[in-house]
Amino acid sequence: MSNDISVEDRVKEIVTKYIKADDGSTPELTRETELQTVNLESLDLIEIIFEVEDEFDIDIEQDEKTAELKTLGDVLDWLTTNIEDQTA
């Protein structure tokens, strides 16, 4: 873990590990990329949450907002907000 990298970049690194295109390659990603199109499923999200909790030593509550996450930007913002709220 390095402090030189921003929180968002560290989260991005974790999230992208779980993203695979149908052919197994890592697709081009933007904040607008829809989770569905990159096969990011609810079980992947559970693993991502676990890794983020572990990395930042925080607890993330899963609430109704989790179901509303549609794009990669939504996920990054939601996780980053959680991290910043708990590490501020």
Binding site: L43, I46, E47, I49, F50, E53, D54, D59
Partner: protein, 402 residues
């Protein structure tokens, strides 16, 4: 009742990553027992085990799969794949609906249990990996095989300590012969060679510090192993109709419980299991060429098992060959019965009996016709394989040439 035949066999253990390699290692008398090499916190007193040193999970499973699949399930899946490929059965057909997947495991995902316990208690972490539960489930191996092949018949796991896979194969046999299913993928596996898994066995003081020498005067205990064995069973007519190669007929299943002691076995319980198996198989003692013994190398087991065999076989005992392949692949607990049956199938097919290695001199109370150190070539008519578990849960399986 239908006749049940074995059409596919797979196994992985310290002896080798597949049946062929394991069989060749067994015949050459090359034991898989050697230095145990696992991460430990305090030095372990137990130095020996039959570990699968060459095994690399990432050669067989993706990182995503490994997050979901404990080592014991990996072994079951790999042996299952080998057995299914060996049988040539095609699960893209309707047979997938009429196939059972029954596995045995005494411990389930012990590696995962230990890892998560270490995290929670030792590292004092407040969380464990999200897939800890599905990794630990003793039935996970069965589930993964059903998913991989789209098998939709009955699937579950039997846990009866060291008889787990013996019982699983026996119950799968019952399902096929009673017509509940036409085929079964069955066996079992175990992965107990982890720091938190060795320590409880050390505490029992039943493990050898020198070698596994079942039935010998100077034996000093059992040695743990790891791995799995899986078989494909099919209803005879179905196997014949698809032109399958048939290894032999699974023809008898005996089982009993000692109702005695949680660790000390009873000769009567073991004898009852063997006798019931022979009756079920309609075999006379003199029909049996070879017994693959439970033969752990502990004083309690070896004397009890010898006494049971002598009780059941009577005067025919002088003619029946006996060996314990645990001297080669160690004791893989819930997977032991299946690994041993895999080798026993090969013995029936080839007419070569695998030896008890490290054999010195038979204990006075373990006098049997031992296959000592060297394989024996003979005409094999029928064979039986014993599994006797802690808690007195016994299973015996019989196979005969077809």
């Amino acid at each position: 009742m239908h006749r049940v035949v074995i059409t596919g066999v797979g196994t992985i253990s310290g002896l080798g990553p597949n049946l062929n390699d394991s069989w060749n290692a067994a015949l050459s008398g090359k034991t898989a027992i050697g230095q145990l090499d696992i991460p430990s916190i305090q030095p372990l007193r137990q130095k020996l085990a039959a570990q699968i040193h060459s095994y690399k999970p990432e050669d067989h499973f993706s990182a995503g799969e490994l997050a979901l699949i404990d080592r014991f399930s990996q072994f079951i899946i790999l042996s299952g794949r080998e057995a299914i490929a060996d049988s040539g059965i095609d699960f893209s057909t309707d047979i997938a609906e009429e196939t059972a997947v029954l596995t045995g495991s005494g411990l389930g995902g012990w590696e995962t249990i230990n890892e998560s316990a270490k995290k929670v208690f030792y590292d004092q972490k407040p969380r464990v990996h999200p897939f800890t539960v599905p990794k630990i489930m003793p039935s996970a191996g069965s589930s993964h095989l059903t998913m991989e092949y789209g098998i939709t018949g009955p699937a579950f796991t039997i846990s009866s300590a060291c008889s787990s896979s013996g019982h699983a194969i026996g119950e799968a046999f019952e399902m096929v012969r009673r017509g509940r299913v036409k085929a079964a993928v069955t066996g079992g596996g175990e992965a107990p060679l982890i720091y938190g898994g060795i320590i409880p066995w050390q505490a029992l003081r039943v493990m050898s510090s020198t070698a596994c020498r079942p039935f010998c005067k100077d034996r000093d205990g059992m040695i743990l192993g790891e791995g799995a064995g899986m078989l494909v069973l099919e209803e005879y007519e179905y196997a014949k109709s698809r032109g399958a190669r048939i290894y032999g007929e699974l023809c008898g299943y005996g089982l009993s419980s000692d109702a005695g002691d949680i660790v000390d076995p009873s000769p009567d319980g073991a004898a009852k299991s063997v006798r019931k198996c022979l009756v079920d198989a309609q075999l006379n003692p003199e029909d049996v060429t070879y017994i693959n013994a439970h033969g752990t190398g502990t004083t309690a087991n070896d004397r009890t098992e010898t006494s049971a065999i002598r009780q059941v076989f009577g005067s025919a005992v002088d003619d029946v060959w006996v060996s314990s392949t645990k001297s080669l692949h160690g004791h893989a607990l819930g997977g032991a019965g299946a690994i041993e049956l895999a080798l026993t199938v090969r013995a029936l097919e080839s007419g070569i009996l695998p030896p008890t290695v490290n054999f010195t001199e038979a204990d006075e109370e373990c006098q049997l016709r031992h296959v000592a150190n060297e394989p024996v070539e003979t005409k094999v008519k029928a064979v039986i394989s014993n599994s006797f578990a802690f808690g007195g849960l016994n299973a015996t399986l019989a196979i005969k040439a077809i």
